[in-house]
Symmetry: C2
Subunit: 474 residues, 2 copies
C-alpha cells in the first residue's frame, strides 16, 4: 500500500538538483525561481553553475533570460558563458537591450561571436553598434565574411537586403539532380537551413529555383533546368521588409530569392525572419493605435517612456482644449441648466468610443490592404449606416434613462437627438480620417486617434449643448 499512498516523486539521483528548475512554468511564463537562480550565479560569478543552468538552451530562451535579468547582469552573463554563449540570442532581445549589452562588450568578443552566425543574424547585431565600433568589428572578420556583411549593411534599414541570408546554394541549369545532390553531400560549408536551391547563369542572374522536395523526388539524370520553377519568388534587395512580409503571407512562401537591381541573386530571405517582421508590424499597429510609439518596449527606462508618451498626450490636450472652447460658447446655458454639465460627458464618450471602433477596423484593413479604392465607398456607406442604427438604438436607451434621472422627457429628447448626430459623425470621422491620412502617405495607425476623438468631442459637445440651447431657449 505504501507505493500507492506515496505520491511525492523521488528525486532522480543521477540528475543534479538544478535540473529541477524549469525555465518556463506551465503557462509559458518565465519561472521566477529560475531567474533568481541565474541572477545568483551571475552575482557570484559562478560560470559553472550558470553554464549548467542554461545547458542546451535555445537562442530564444537565452534571449528571454537576458531580457528578464537586471541590465547590469546581462553583459556579465555573456562574459561568464564565454565561447559557449550563442550570439544569436542577441537577435531575440529588444533593440534597446541589444544596444545596451553591446555597448558593454569588447569589440573582440563581439567579432568572435558574430563570426559563427548566419549573415542575417550577424547583420542584426552589427546594425545595433555605433558606426565606429561596427567598423572595428568588421575589420576583425575574415575578408569574405566582411564583404558579404558590408554589402547587406549597405542596403537601407528595414529592407530585404538587411534581412536576407547571404549564404545560399546556387547551381547552373545544366547540372543534373545527381550532380547537385553530390555537391551538397561533399560541401561542408552549406547554409544552416535552406528550403530551395537557386539556379543562376554565369553572370549570377537568377534563372529559377528548385524546392528541396522537388529535388528529392526527381531521378538523378534529370537536369535542374527540367525541374526548376522558372518564375521563382523573388524580391528586390531594396524592397521594404513589410512588403516582403505581405508577399510571403499572400503566397504562403517559406523562402524567396533576393536579387539586386540587375536581377543578380544576392541572398535568400526565409520565413522565420518574416514571422518576426509580421509580429513587429502587428505590435507597431497595436501600440500606435493605443497612443504609444511603435518601438516602446518593456525594457525602456522611465524617463525614455515618459518622453515618448508625451507627444500623444500633448496632442490630446490640445484637442481637449478645443472641445472645452466649444463648451465655453455655451457657458450661459450651462449656468442656467446644470443637468447639461452632468450629461455632456456621456455624449462625448459615446462618440469617442464609436469613432474608435470604426477607426480600428479601418486602420487594420488599410494595413492588410483589405481596404482600398475598390471598396472604400462601400465601407463608408456601411459605417455610416451602422452609426445611424446604433445612434437610434442608444438615443432610445440613453434618452429614456436621462428622462427618468432628471424627471424631464425633454432632456431625454435632446440627448437622444445629440446622440444620433454624434454617432453618425463618429462613424464618418472614424473612416474618413484614416483614409485621408493614408492618401497623403501618413501612417493612419499613428495619427488617426487624436483627429477622430477631437471630431467626436467637438461634435458631441456642440450638438448636445446646441440642441439644448435652442430647445430650452436658454
Amino acid at each position: 500500500m505504501l507505493e500507492v499512498e506515496d505520491k511525492t516523486p523521488l528525486p532522480k539521483s543521477d540528475e543534479p538538483a538544478t535540473e529541477a528548475l524549469a525555465f518556463r512554468d506551465e503557462e509559458g511564463e518565465l519561472n521566477p525561481e529560475f531567474l533568481a537562480a541565474a541572477a545568483d550565479a551571475i552575482e557570484a560569478s559562478e560560470a559553472d553553475r550558470l553554464q549548467q543552468l542554461v545547458e542546451g538552451f535555445h537562442e530564444s530562451e537565452l534571449g528571454d533570460l537576458l531580457e528578464a535579468l537586471e541590465p547590469d547582469q546581462r553583459p556579465r552573463l555573456i562574459e561568464l558563458l564565454g565561447r559557449s554563449f550563442d550570439f544569436a540570442a542577441l537577435t531575440e532581445v529588444d533593440e534597446a537591450v541589444r544596444e545596451e549589452i553591446l555597448e558593454e562588450l569588447e569589440t573582440s568578443t563581439v567579432a568572435e561571436g558574430v563570426r559563427d552566425l548566419d549573415s542575417d543574424d550577424a547583420v542584426t547585431i552589427l546594425e545595433s553598434l555605433p558606426e565606429e565600433e561596427k567598423a572595428e568589428v568588421l575589420e576583425q572578420l575574415p575578408a569574405i565574411e566582411r564583404v558579404a556583411l558590408q554589402r547587406s549593411l549597405d542596403y537601407p534599414e528595414d529592407s530585404a537586403g538587411r534581412r536576407m541570408q547571404t549564404e545560399f546554394i546556387a547551381v547552373p541549369p545544366f547540372w543534373t539532380v545527381g550532380q547537385t545532390i553530390d555537391f551538397m553531400r561533399e560541401t561542408a560549408d552549406l547554409p544552416e537551413t535552406f528550403y530551395e536551391i537557386f539556379v543562376i547563369d554565369p553572370a549570377g542572374h537568377l534563372l529559377g529555383a528548385v524546392a528541396l522536395d522537388r529535388l528529392l523526388r526527381s531521378k538523378r539524370p534529370v537536369t535542374i533546368q527540367e525541374i526548376m520553377d522558372d518564375e521563382p519568388d523573388r524580391v528586390k534587395a531594396t524592397e521594404h521588409q513589410e512588403e516582403v512580409a505581405r508577399l510571403f503571407e499572400r503566397y504562403n512562401l517559406v523562402s524567396a530569392a533576393v536579387v539586386d537591381e540587375a536581377g543578380r541573386l544576392v541572398g535568400a530571405i526565409l520565413v522565420d525572419d518574416i514571422v518576426d517582421v509580421l509580429e513587429e508590424e502587428a505590435d507597431a499597429d497595436i501600440k500606435q493605435l493605443g497612443g504609444v510609439k511603435s518601438d516602446e518596449e518593456l525594457s525602456d527606462t522611465v524617463l525614455y517612456t515618459q518622453r515618448s508618451r508625451f507627444p500623444w498626450l500633448f496632442a490630446n490636450m490640445c484637442t481637449a482644449f478645443l472641445a472645452a472652447g466649444v463648451i465655453r460658447v455655451f457657458e450661459e446655458s450651462l449656468e442656467r441648466m446644470v443637468a447639461l454639465a452632468i450629461l455632456m460627458p456621456i455624449v462625448a464618450s459615446m462618440g469617442g468610443n464609436a469613432g474608435t471602433q470604426t477607426m480600428t477596423v479601418a486602420v487594420r484593413a488599410l494595413a492588410t490592404r483589405e481596404l482600398g479604392r475598390a471598396n472604400a465607398w462601400r465601407i463608408i456607406r456601411r459605417e455610416a449606416a451602422v452609426g445611424i442604427l446604433n445612434g437610434l438604438v442608444f438615443a432610445v436607451i440613453l434618452g429614456t434613462v436621462a428622462s427618468v434621472w432628471f424627471q424631464s422627457p425633454q432632456i431625454g429628447l435632446v440627448i437622444g437627438l445629440a446622440l444620433i448626430s454624434v454617432l453618425l459623425f463618429a462613424a464618418l470621422g472614424g473612416i474618413f480620417v484614416p483614409l485621408t491620412l493614408n492618401r497623403f502617405g501618413v501612417d493612419p495607425a499613428v495619427s488617426s486617434g487624436p483627429f477622430v476623438t477631437s471630431i467626436t468631442d467637438i461634435v458631441g459637445f456642440f450638438s448636445f449643448l446646441g440642441i439644448a440651447t435652442v430647445w430650452f431657449r436658454l
Copy 2:
C-alpha cells in the same frame, strides 16, 4: 527623333487586350478596373472571358477577387469557372464570406472541389458548412479521405488537429537515406509540400524527424536513425493554435509533427498556416482593444456589425453614467462655478488617454508572454513613475493655460493637482486591470478598455471637482 518622343507603349499584338488589366496597382491595392471587368464577365455569364481574366491566378488572388465582388456574384464566379476554380481560394476569404458562398453551392460541387485539396484546406472549408451539409459532402468523398478529414474535424475548434495536414512522409528508422530517396522518387501521391520527413515505429509513435536539407546532404548508405533529430518539434493535436504559433515563433520552426495523446504521429503543421494564425491573433488583439469583436470583417452586413458593436458601446454607456453620477454629486459646485464644467472634460480625457497607453502596452506584453509574474512588479513601478512624471509635466502646462484662460491662478492650481492624481491612477488602472483580468483567465484585450476608462473618468471628475469644492469652499 520619333522613337524618343513617342512614349506610349505599343500594344503587343500577340497578347489579348485583357492582359493589360493588372489585378493589383503599384501600391498592392486591387485594381478597380480589373474588378469591373470581372464583374461584367460574371453578369454576362461569359465563362471564357472570366477564365481569361483569372488565368494563372494564385489561390490568394482568387480569394481577394471573391471578397471584392458583390455577394451574389461570388458563387456565380465559382459556377462559371467550373472545374478550373481552385477551392483553396475559399480558405483565403473571411469566414463569413466563405459561409455565404458555400450556402449557395451544390454539395456535389463542394465535394468535388474539396477532393483536390490538402487536408488542412479541406478542413477549413468543411468547418464552415452546417452539420448536415458537412455530412453530405463527406459521404461523397472516397473512404480514405473521409476518414482522415473526419479525424481532423473531431479535434476541437482552433486546435492543432484542425490546422494540421494529414498527408506526411513517415519512414522506419532502419531505412537508409538511399531507400528513403528512392521511395520518394517512386511514390506519386506525396504531400504537396513538406520540409521534413518523420520517423515512426511500427505502432506509429513518433521517433524523430529529418529535415530535407539534412537528408540531401547525407550519403545513401547512412541510416535514417543516424541522422534523425530524436527530439523533433512536436505539438499535441488538441493544443490551441495560438500556443502552437508561439512555439513556431519562438523556435523559428517551419514544420512540426502533430501527435495524439499516445504520442502517435497524426499529421504535420506547416509554417504558412502559422503565419495565418499569428495574423488572426494580432488582428483579434487590435480589434478587441478598439472595442470591436475579433471576428468582425469588412464583409459583414450592417445589421450584424451594428449588433456586434452594441455591447461595447453599452458597457461604455454604463460607465459614462457612473461618471455622470460622480459629477452630479458636485452639482452645486458646478452651479456656482461654471468654469469647472468647461474644464472637467479635459481632465477626464487626459486620464483616459494615459490609461489607454499603459493598458495597450500591458495587454500586448501579456499576449506575447513578455509580461508575467517574474517582472510584473518592475513594470508596475515603472508605469507608476511614468504616470507621476507625466502628471507633473502636464500639471504645469495645463495649469498655466487654464490660469490664463480663466484669469485665475487658483483654478490652474486645482486642475494641476487633479491631473497628477488622475495620471497616477490611469497608470495603475492601465496595468492592474489587464493583469487582474489575465489572472482570472479573462482575455485582457477584450475587457480592459471599459474598466480602465471608467476608473480614469471617475477619478478624473472626482478629483477635479472634489479639489475645487474644497479649495474654493463651494
